[in-house]
């Protein structure tokens, strides 16, 4: 019993230590990042890698989420003879919740894992120390462009994901006898400005979480190539948990 409590205590302390480390990195990145030179070259490179590089998977996932959810709703609504309300039913779930969250957990975790692996490898091979030794600030040079790019690329991907999911829903709607135009109109009709604000805000915040966790995990990778693998795996888990928790609180704030 005592050992179990000790283990639990150790787990809690390690979690708090991790959260503190992430918070300090976030504050430092926000403090040193916006200073001149802004580092547009590095930011554009990261935006291209993280944003454009994630378009295919975002498209694929969003299309299938849109189709699956619409199918499920259609299946449920047909018993009530309310299949024509399919657009109303699908829009809120997709725009408010599923698209931003699933994109952050899948595409975002991919981004974060990539950052953790790249920065972890750089740490192991002393490239991060080399950045500092050459007189540059590693947080400004390495963390800031990645966090900035993730923060702004994720909402753009969420917007694109919403468009694709709507398209997927329209395809399935046709299958259940709901004309695509009608599905579109009811889908959009259900949404209010707050829903657009919520889906974009979630994109921004999830993107920031993804960026900062990926960079923190990379910077804190232990030495050895195996450690990079561990850091990458932990990043996916940490990102997923933090996104889900943040999603809960954001939902409480918005709705």
């Amino acid at each position: 019993m005592k050992r179990a409590i000790e283990r639990l205590g150790g787990f809690v302390l390690a979690g708090l230590d991790w959260l503190g480390g992430v918070a300090i990195l976030a504050v430092t990145a926000l403090r040193v990042g916006p200073r001149r030179p802004f580092g547009w070259g590095d930011i554009v490179k990261q935006m291209a890698e993280q944003g454009f590089g994630s378009l295919p998977i975002t498209t694929f996932i969003s299309l299938f989420i849109g189709m699956i959810l619409t199918w499920q709703f259609a299946w449920a609504l047909k018993d009530f003879g309310a299949v024509m309300t399919l657009g109303y039913a699908a829009s809120l779930a997709l725009v408010r919740e599923l698209i931003p969250t699933v994109i952050a957990i899948t595409v975002g975790a991919k981004m974060a894992a990539g950052m953790a692996a790249e920065l972890g490898s750089m740490k192991v091979t002393e490239q991060i120390d080399a950045v500092a030794a050459l007189g540059a600030n590693p947080i400004k040079k390495l963390v800031w462009p990645r966090v900035f790019a993730a923060t702004f690329a994720t909402p753009l991907l969420v917007v694109w994901g919403n468009v694709v999911a709507l398209g997927g829903g329209m395809v399935i709607g046709e299958k259940w006898g709901v004309p695509a135009g009608y599905f579109y109109e009811t889908y959009i009709d259900m949404l209010v400005p707050l829903d657009y604000i919520a889906t974009l805000s979630k994109g921004f915040i999830f993107g920031f979480i993804v960026g900062i966790i990926g960079c923190y995990q990379g910077f804190n990778a232990k030495t050895g190539t195996e450690a990079v693998g561990v850091a990458t795996t932990e990043t996916v888990v940490a990102t997923s948990i933090c996104v889900i928790v943040a999603d809960f609180y954001l939902t409480l704030v918005f709705f």
Binding site: S121, M122, T125, E126, Q127, D129, A130, V131, A132, A133, L134, G135, A136, N137
Partner: protein, 259 residues
């Protein structure tokens, strides 16, 4: 006549990682223009010494001074300026994999100067020439280079700053190289020291290189540098701990320093 003031001074420095104590009241001085080799067993913390000097690691207590100014008291801008004057050649080269050789060399110049790319290229070519590398390597990627070439590119990157650095720190510059490249790197260290009049600190456990390139050798033992002397005297030392380490027997390593 009094001895000259050291350019670098470690004064009663203590450093540990968790329970592992690396330095305990460690003192060490490096004089302008000399090449000091730091020797000692693997994992004892030789590189830690170099990293503390440029502020990559911070000791728990004691002081480290460069030209009489405490490194530990420097703010971020102070450290940035210090790192323009003290260059660091990392063990594996520390080259940025995602950048070309040219971009690696240009990194510090872009960070600290307003030179144009053409001016940077001219300077990079001169540094490549100084370390015996051909100009056509400049546009290649670090992954295309051999181990010896990577180390020499790292040396070129270390001296590329304008003005040239006052001190070059070499972290295990010959590790993982074949005898021919070890000799070549040794010659480069001596050449750069002579041509640029820099002060050099070479961390190594390659004894022939330490003897060949350095004026003095400091041996890390029991968390301090109890043995610091000229390279020849250290090479011929009658102190068991020193001669055992230098000549490779290490038979009394666990017994502590003996006279």
């Amino acid at each position: 006549m009094s001895a000259p003031d050291p350019i670098i001074r470690f004064d009663r420095v203590c450093k540990s990682f968790g329970d592992h104590v690396v330095y305990e009241d460690m003192n060490l001085s490096v004089f302008a223009g000399e090449t000091l080799a730091i020797i000692g067993g693997s994992g004892q913390g030789k590189s830690v010494c170099l990293k503390m000097l440029i502020g990559l690691l911070r000791p728990e207590s004691g002081d480290i001074t460069y030209r009489g100014e405490s490194v530990l008291a420097l703010d971020a801008e102070g450290l940035r300026q210090l790192r323009k004057r003290i260059a660091y050649v990392f063990q594996g080269g520390g080259l940025f994999d995602s950048m070309s050789v040219f971009d690696n060399l240009a990194f510090a110049l872009r960070e600290h100067t307003r030179l144009t790319d053409a001016e940077i290229r001219t300077r990079a070519l001169r540094c490549m020439d100084m370390v015996g590398l051909s100009a056509d390597m400049l546009d290649g990627m670090p992954s295309m280079l051999s181990g010896g070439e990577r180390k020499r590119v790292a040396m070129a990157r270390a001296i590329v700053m304008e003005p040239e650095p006052e001190v070059i720190l070499y972290d295990e510059p010959t590790t993982g190289l074949d005898p021919k490249n070890i000799a070549r790197i040794g010659r480069m260290i001596v050449k750069l020291q002579r041509e640029l009049s820099v002060t050099s600190v070479v961390v190594t456990h390659d004894m022939p290189t330490a003897h060949r390139v350095s004026n003095r050798i400091a041996m890390l033992y029991d968390k301090k540098f109890p043995f610091v002397d000229t390279a020849d005297k250290m090479w011929d030392s009658s102190v068991d701990t020193v001669s055992d380490f230098i000549h490779g027997t290490l038979r009394k390593a666990a017994d502590g320093p003996t006279q």
